[in-house]
Point group: C2
DNA sequence: TCCCGAAGTGAGAGCGTTTCCAAGCAGGTA
DNA sequence: TACCTGCTTGGAAACGCTCTCACTTCGGGA
């Protein structure tokens, strides 16, 4: 056409297919450059059935997504990690029901090649809807669904919580309490369970020694106040997030409890600008959102490339960083 | 076809076009529901030349985007505001040069109907490239470009800074200094200029009485220390961001200067979880990222709908909230 | 009774690619 | 010289939709 060459050949050149002579390729490329030619994305994806885009679905209130360091890291890592695979991220917020419907329509319309799904809440219907779509899905964090057949990447919430609690024991803290996340939240439940297994608390003890927060600082403050009230002689606190731990520190200090002299505090997340810069700096279990998203992207990529990746729940290790709060 | 009806009719029903009898529409819709039919997005956008997606281009380091409250608000508002217009956001990070190239390719390929462009840095070539693309663009914050012909929405950085500085004067502070943002940043320059116009500082005075930060808390600390050193008798500080103001507060307190007794501090941004919860709570100029993005989306929508919106720089007002730091 | 206009519907072209298949062409072998 | 092989190239179908245009049907006015 433009370079005295057929559409078919142009297509082969653009897509770097093998059966093209170098000279022809050069001619086509220079002609393309001269004309400012760019292949039309819609036409291409119509025939290849690939869009080059991946949806990141976040089923959380927006405030959570942008204030919580975990989700901020997720969004950011997804964006860059997908870009490295030449894929574009489509960010879908699906907290409210009408949004959920939009999300389903969007995914069903074939706008994206795959889905990275974050939906930690118990009664969210979206994960179940999404798994039925004819699109590969990788879950970030275990959903409240039967897990067989699903591709899941999760942090080791249980193991991390055990690590934290055992650390408190090692420090000689025998009367520890825990500030949990919202208990319709899978990670929150797992972290509580880790604490429970190490302390050996029975149901009654759990009711007494744990208080439910909401992952925010205020929630941590409320829960800590409640626990101080119920368990005046507590000597160790495992908070299921950095924000809540900071809240707990405040309440403890205001109550005249020295940290770590009177009470040791361990948190979960280990976000650089929170845990390390708290006063005192927080001993924290580190979950690695960057590694998690990278693994999710790698898994999705394998699925899209047609590798027969076995469905599995891949658990990323959690590590403990000791600082001055214990 | 499926419902004993032609493709054309189905298309008309799906797109809610007028010339269809109610009965036929009902038949088609029920057939569609039964078959789980969803129109193919690629095919549709091939012929309509609309993708239903809008790019949000952020030419900033990633750390800035997710730690800085302004950008977090931008991303979040863009996402929801576009969703309300039935549009999907494609988030493009373009800080590093190789990313910039990817972004240009992406926009040129026709993946999106329009662009919301945030690029505050002086030597960023992207805005100039993007404005030449055959895609409507709305800039968030004035770019370092000749502004004629561009659609721009900006906060009133100049006016806000004047407001802040005049407030310091009203409080009887006659020896004020300013902590600026990075001066390759348009908003930082405008805020400095606002301060300069009210104080009437000449070039030498500016050199003496201002110190360049980077919008972060650490940057604010460094700048404040420097200023205390250079201007020991300062009595008022205008910091060009909340984060920097918090840093300044720390340094002032450590230097034994009581705020607001000895020194008054005003900041810019007024992010709820920073300015109001600083100790003392910060008097701050409020810029409204939500309103800004909403305005940008509205402008872009007008452009896409073919309204002949005159190119202009639309400035959103800034307001001052007094708290205990002045 | 005939004609006309409006409303509803269907046929088919066209959007810009990729990809299958066949054709052209060179070089090597019988 | 004739034939086969392997590489390069072009023609044309297909992807799934929208949209124009033409056709049918029906009601009302002349």
């Amino acid at each position: 056409m433009r370079a005295g060459v057929s559409r078919a050949t142009v297509s082969r050149v653009i897509n770097k297919q093998p059966r093209v002579s170098p000279e022809t390729a050069a001619v086509v490329l220079s002609a393309a450059a001269e004309l400012g030619y760019t292949p039309n994305a819609a036409a291409r994806s119509l025939v290849t059935r690939r869009t080059g885009a991946v949806a990141v679905v976040l089923s959380e209130p927006e405030s959570m997504i942008f204030d919580d360091p975990f989700f901020a890291a997720v969004v950011r890592t997804a964006c860059t990690e997908l870009a490295r695979n030449q894929q574009q991220m489509a960010l879908l917020l699906a907290h409210r029901p009408e949004q959920a419907e939009r999300v389903e329509r969007f995914l069903r319309a074939g706008h994206v090649d795959g889905v990275l799904m974050f939906s930690p809440h118990r009664d969210d219907p979206l994960p179940d809807q999404v798994r039925r779509l004819p699109v590969p899905v990788v879950f970030g964090g275990r959903p409240w669904l039967p897990e067989d057949g699903l591709h899941i990447v999760d942090a080791d919430n249980l193991g991390g919580a055990e690590l934290a609690t055992r650390h408190l024991l090692d420090r000689g803290r025998s009367n520890t309490v825990t500030i949990t996340g919202p208990l319709d939240h899978r990670a929150a439940v797992d972290r509580l369970e880790g604490w429970r297994q190490v302390t050996g608390a029975d149901q009654d003890a759990v009711r007494l020694l744990s208080a439910e927060g909401d992952f925010t600082r205020r929630g941590g403050e409320r829960a800590m106040a409640e626990l101080l009230d119920r368990v005046p002689d507590l000597d160790g606190v495992f908070a299921a997030s950095d924000h809540m731990a900071v809240g707990a520190l405040h309440v403890l200090q205001r109550a005249g409890r020295a940290v770590p002299h009177d009470v040791s505090v361990v948190s979960f997340d280990d976000h650089p600008s929170i845990a390390a810069s708290a006063r005192p700096a927080l001993t924290a279990v580190r979950q690695d959102p960057v590694g998690m998203v990278a693994e999710m992207v790698a898994n999705l990529r394998a699925l899209l490339d047609g590798e027969d990746l076995a469905p599995a729940c891949r658990i990323l290790p959690a590590t403990l960083t000791e600082r001055s709060s214990t």
